[in-house]
Symmetry: C2
Subunit: 140 residues, 2 copies
DNA sequence: TTATAAATGCAACTCTATTGCATTTTATTT
DNA sequence: AAATAAAATGCAATAGAGTTGCATTTATAA
């Protein structure tokens, strides 16, 4: 993605333009799989770990990323493709490959009826994590 | 639940009978909400943290508990009511209350068709986490 | 009752994530 | 373009979650 596009995207989300944020956002754009803090630390050794953590947090707060609960411990993050700051649409599914360990957002929308909940439970949002073998691993 | 019942349950899962395991299992039986390591540490200060961790792990390995990915960081565990060692049925949903922070297993079975996945993805299992307000919180 | 295999407690350690603070950088205003 | 205020960064320290090794104790089965 072009520099000016990245810049625009940050500005749209009311985020200041910094080297770290530009690099991290570009990294997200270039990867279809969800990204962990570990990935970023390995890739961007020139930035402090803390800065990378704070970058993820600010991106998440400003609706650029969504957090995906990690399998064991550490979380991963995915780009919010169809979201804007006002309305998040997180009702897609996350596919976690048990072979390569990657997590990926699958754009198939997920519908679970609130009617299936017991009385007096109110649904706000839903996270669906599908475990299995991803396309890359199944073709090897 | 009676002592003898707890004992039988542990034996069924090929787990040795110890004080810690009996107490922890009883605690799970008495609570409808999912249990965190923190809950256990607070409740059972007479047992070492490590022992409680290992108790959870052995319960999980032997099909007595299932692990539910925590909101931020620490995981919680739920009793496997309808599971046996041979066949786990984890396709129920987990309800996480954004008000009181509790997580709970809801017995409504969840069906997501593998057909909704893109080509060459193979589904093995699925975790559904519904966020919202639980019955207790909505009536307060 | 004894033998052995497993569970426990303790200490140390690893990994993940956060906080405080001084410094630097960004964006805005003049 | 320079000055200013607000925000981001880097570093060090700290907090929290979870694990490992090992000596000791306990449970089960012979």
């Amino acid at each position: 993605m072009k520099y000016s596009e990245l810049k625009k995207s940050l500005k749209n989300h009311k985020l200041r333009i910094t080297d770290c944020r530009m690099d991290v956002l570009e990294y997200f754009q270039e990867h279809t799989k969800a990204v962990s803090i570990k990935d970023l630390e390995d890739k961007f050794q020139e930035y402090d770990r803390v800065t990378l953590y704070r970058t993820l947090h600010s991106f998440e707060e400003n609706g650029l990323l969504h957090k995906i609960p990690g399998d064991s411990g550490s979380a991963v993050y995915g780009l919010c493709k169809d979201c804007d700051v006002a309305a998040h649409h997180h009702n897609h599914m996350h596919f976690r490959c048990t072979s390569c360990g990657s997590t990926e957002c699958i754009d198939t929308p997920v519908e679970i009826k609130a009617a299936t909940l017991p009385d007096n439970y109110e649904m706000a949002s839903i996270d669906v994590i599908v475990n299995g073998i991803c396309n890359q691993c199944s073709s090897n």
